[in-house]
């Protein structure tokens, strides 16, 4: 199929940037979206033009590196997939596809479609861990029983790949699904209880500091999340946050 691509081009963080039109031809419907981008880039390189910069790595939907906003949706129109798992059969011959970077003040553009998501790292550094040193002398793994239900729910929260689709999709560029998922994983496990109060307070404080917006419960994040992280995690974080503040 033949397609018209409208792609955001921005040479670096200080450049103003603009949308540029490109044509690609003979795209197979079996290609992944990123392979279609590879074709475009090969074409640009051979013409002596600058290829389009975009983040990608594992190309199997787990590393969370790819981050495009395609036709008005994070990771494009398919559900439960990252951009690397989006296939061209979702599009028709002659389509025009708009491709933009994930946009948020806390995700500044580095180049073209590449954005800086280190704000996510800093939120995790504020408390997204359990303070346990490596010693080989922690208690036996079966020393604390954890109900299957709690373990499964913690796992569901922990499947977050940190791609930032929640932020990109949210009309407020809020990171609460991301933070809620991490807070929930530890809140659901006994190991997480000891530091629960400080964890949620510090992570939320860092989230606010980074300049993410507020959650207004539109639910867009949950729909666009490639891993189906539930909005429930935000409610749980809100409870944790209230109780942490009451406890002091």
């Amino acid at each position: 199929m033949n397609l018209t691509l409208k792609i955001w081009r921005q040479s670096d963080a200080n450049d103003k940037g603009k949308m540029v039109d490109y044509k690609v031809t003979e795209i197979s419907e079996h290609m992944s979206f990123l392979e279609m981008m590879d074709v475009l880039n090969e074409q640009l390189i051979n013409k002596g033009e600058e290829p389009v910069a975009f983040d990608h790595d594992c190309r199997e939907g787990i590393c969370g590196m790819c981050s495009m906003f395609i036709n008005g949706e994070a990771h494009g129109p398919d559900r439960g997939v990252t951009t690397c798992q989006l296939h061209m059969r979702m599009f028709k011959d002659g389509d025009t596809i708009t491709i933009e970077p994930f946009r948020a003040k806390a995700f500044p553009v580095i180049k073209d479609l590449v954005v800086d998501r280190s704000s996510f790292d800093r939120i995790q550094q504020a408390g997204g861990y359990i303070s346990v040193n490596t010693s080989g002398n922690t208690q036996d793994a079966n020393g604390t029983l954890i109900s299957k239900h709690a373990a499964d729910e913690a796992m569901d929260a922990a499947t977050c790949i940190g791609c930032g689709a929640c932020v990109a999709s949210c009309k407020n560029a809020s990171a609460m699904l991301f933070v809620g998922a991490k807070v929930s994983q530890y809140a659901l496990l006994p190991q997480g209880q000891i530091e629960a109060v400080d964890r949620v307070k510090n992570m939320v404080a860092q989230m606010d500091l980074e300049g993410f917006g507020n959650c207004t419960n539109t639910g867009a994040c949950e729909i666009e999340c490639p891993k189906g992280i539930s909005l429930e995690n935000i409610a749980r974080m809100n409870r944790e946050y209230l109780s942490a503040n009451v406890k002091g």
């Binding site: 051979n46 190309r59 997204g128 490596t134 208690q139 373990a151 922990a158 530890y186 190991q191």
Partner: protein, 666 residues
């Protein structure tokens, strides 16, 4: 050929590691503050090592090319992690895990290292649970286990199909804690481009900031390479797009020996290539072979009809199908080990029986299982004279419960419903057992330079068993390196900060800058990917699942010629001072072009078949791998300029606690 010293401590296997730990030198806490360590790569091995070293008190700098340590490709591991916990009471033990791993590696790994790995495996699970890794649990609240290929016990711990992700996020969280404490300084979107040696010791690295293009000098008292495997030398593999050999290769060129490059694991069940544009292959878990039957059509006419779309696989009767694994290996059938299953698929496709347009695909068919489960379920539910549809429905539900997420993934990629039509699969490069040679301390032949995880060669021999890569990465990072590195660093407590304004750093930086400038100024006619794809094709065709002397010799010549052409005609757009993915890729491909040749040379020299390395000249009458006693050694290559001039050093492998046997799956 000299003989290498593996520094394996004396004494009985069972107490080697404990005795050794009791006697090595330590660095006191006050002195650790004055010692810097660089860790390159932040996957399971690098991430866990960085966190642990920082906990101990060392100043750690980490480097990764991704935008966050959390994205390292360890994240893609699906199945699980082995540990000799014997929670299931099924007779597992440290010895049994050790034995399975050595045997699975086709008796080409170092006994003492593997035993240590098995010994610390239990601690890994304890540590990860304490970190909040949500492993699967049973209804009583205890940890659950599953079983994996090649073993007789259930010792694999898992977190859904995302065990690697959860373990990596655990290590990443431990890193984050140390970053918050200021003990780790992370350098993300940075790539190590050379190691700096001062007086023969590794004392720092030259790195490039991938966002600004800036070349940076970083000094340290020790350098740890944890940058993973080199599967991307094949262009197409299940590795991440950015996975590369550069860090390992740079230290190789500065004196670290490279061991067994020809040991590559080709995983039998991956989604086949669909066209030339393909950038990456996707793995389908090994567990599918429990219920799927592998076949190709018996008759060439049917193959052609299927390729042309005139026939569907479901049109073929049982008589018209060749279940070649069941035919060749009646005892193990579809459950033969990875290397055997992969070679058998290649043999059929080479004979022209491949079932897709590229001729490189075989069927993995669940119809029999669906039927079998359906009948079982009908009995369980007391449904008499169940209709064909009802049986199918009941059976499909069971298959869905077991493999639902994999089936969905397959359908997303291929756009075919695997419940209705057989899956198409083909082997793909997955893991590299070979890597930088290390001694018992995990130190390379450069003093002060260590290699851990997939980047080293030590634990898997010629073939890796499922669920043991995660185990090795974390064992190295959490429990081995943090001890052994102390022995070396204890001699550095008076050294003080290593300055970076020295001639050694100047020279290394100049080398790096010259090369980058060359790429940008070359203005050749072919893109980097053009060369990478060509290299991949040579590697796949001649150094793939089966190899022969003639092919390997041709490969050496072809790679060498390709490399020459690359340095003449490569075209890298953009500038050196910006985010430039093509430039980063050019450097990686340049290194692959050298490694590829050494790979072929290693495969040529190894005149035997072992694990993932299959030499057509060395097979039994039935076409099985033939291992030879005289090749019971590790090939460690010393760099001498061109790959063809590399010098072979041998480390003899001695098995005192295990009897070396033949593998048979008939």
């Amino acid at each position: 050929m000299s003989v290498l010293d593996s520094k394996v401590p004396k004494g009985p296997l069972k107490t080697k590691w404990t005795d050794y730990k009791n006697h090595i030198d330590l660095v006191n806490p006050a002195n650790k503050r004055n010692i810097d360590v660089i860790v390159v790569g932040t996957g399971l091995a690098g991430g866990s090592a960085a966190a642990t070293l920082a906990e101990l008190g060392y100043n750690v700098k980490t480097f990764c090319y991704q935008d966050s340590p959390r994205r390292a490709h360890s994240i893609a591991a699906q199945g699980g992690i082995n540990a000799a916990k014997n929670y299931q009471g099924d007779g597992d033990s440290i010895y049994r895990l050790f034995y399975d791993t050595v045997k699975g590696g086709d008796y080409r790994s170092r006994e003492a290292n593997v035993y240590r790995l098995a010994e610390v495996s239990g601690n890994i699970i304890d540590q990860c649970v304490a970190q909040g890794v949500p492993f699967a649990r049973d209804y009583g609240g205890l940890l659950d286990n599953r079983s994996f290929g090649g073993v007789l016990v259930s010792r694999t711990f898992y977190a859904k199909g995302q065990t690697g992700q959860q373990l990596l996020l655990g290590a990443y969280s431990a890193m984050n804690r140390q970053i918050a404490r200021g003990k780790i300084t992370p350098f993300n979107r940075h790539e190590m481009l050379d190691v700096v040696k001062v007086n023969g010791k590794a004392r720092g690295i030259i790195a490039r900031n991938l966002v600004t293009g800036e070349i940076e000098r970083h000094s340290a008292h020790a350098v740890v390479i944890a940058s993973g495997g080199y599967g991307n030398v094949y262009f197409l593999s299940t590795n991440a797009m950015g996975s590369n050999v550069t860090a390992s290769w740079k230290i190789h060129k500065k004196g670290a020996f490279f061991a067994n490059p020809c040991y590559t694991q080709i995983h039998p069940t991956c989604i086949p290539r669909s066209g030339d544009y393909q950038s990456k292959l996707t793995l389908m878990s090994e567990s599918l072979r429990n219920d799927g039957r592998i076949w190709v059509p018996k008759n060439m006419e049917d193959v052609m009809a299927i390729r042309e779309g005139k026939k569907k696989p479901t049109d073929l009767s049982e008589d018209e199908r060749d279940y070649y694994l069941e035919r060749r290996y009646p005892a193990f059938g579809n459950l033969v080990p990875r290397d055997v299953a992969s070679r058998a698929a290649k043999e059929r496709c080479d004979a022209g029986y491949g079932v897709n347009a590229t001729g490189e695909a075989v069927y993995l068919d669940f119809a029999s299982s669906i039927q079998r489960y359906g009948i079982e379920q009908a009995k369980i539910h007391n449904i008499e004279n169940a209709s064909k549809e009802k049986i199918y429905e009941l059976g499909a539900a069971i298959v869905k419960a077991k493999y639902g997420n994999l089936f969905q993934m397959y359908e997303k990629i291929v756009d075919q419903d695997p419940y209705k039509t057989p899956m198409m699969i083909y082997p793909a490069v997955h893991y590299t057992m070979g890597g930088v040679w290390v001694d018992y301390n995990l130190m390379t032949t450069i003093p002060g330079c260590y290699a851990i995880g997939e980047a080293n060669f030590s634990d898997h021999g010629a073939n890796r068993l499922g669920a043991s890569a995660l185990m090795q990465g974390l064992a190295d990072g959490y429990f081995v390196l943090p001890y052994t590195i102390g022995d070396y660093l204890s001699h550095d407590i008076r050294t003080g900060k290593i300055p970076t304004d020295t001639p050694e750093f100047d020279a290394a930086e100049k080398e790096v800058t010259d090369r980058i400038e060359f790429f940008i100024n070359n203005k050749g006619e072919h893109s980097v990917d053009y060369y990478h794809k060509k290299l991949g094709k040579i590697m796949w065709d001649k150094c793939g699942m089966s190899r022969n002397a003639e092919g390997l010799k041709t490969a050496i010549d072809e790679i060498s010629a390709l490399r020459k052409d690359f340095w003449k005609n490569v075209n890298v757009p953009g500038t050196t001072t910006e985010y430039n993915e093509q430039l980063a890729k050019a450097g990686r491909v340049a290194d692959f072009l050298e490694l590829g040749e050494l790979f072929a040379k290693d495969a040529l020299v190894r005149e035997e078949s072992a694990g993932g390395h299959f030499r057509e000249e060395h097979q039994t009458k039935d076409g099985e791998a033939k291992r030879l006693k005289e090749f019971q050694f590790v090939s460690a290559w010393e760099y001498k300029g061109e790959p063809k001039d590399a010098v072979l050093h041998k480390e003899e492998l001695v098995y005192e606690n295990i009897e070396v046997k033949e593998r048979s799956y008939k």
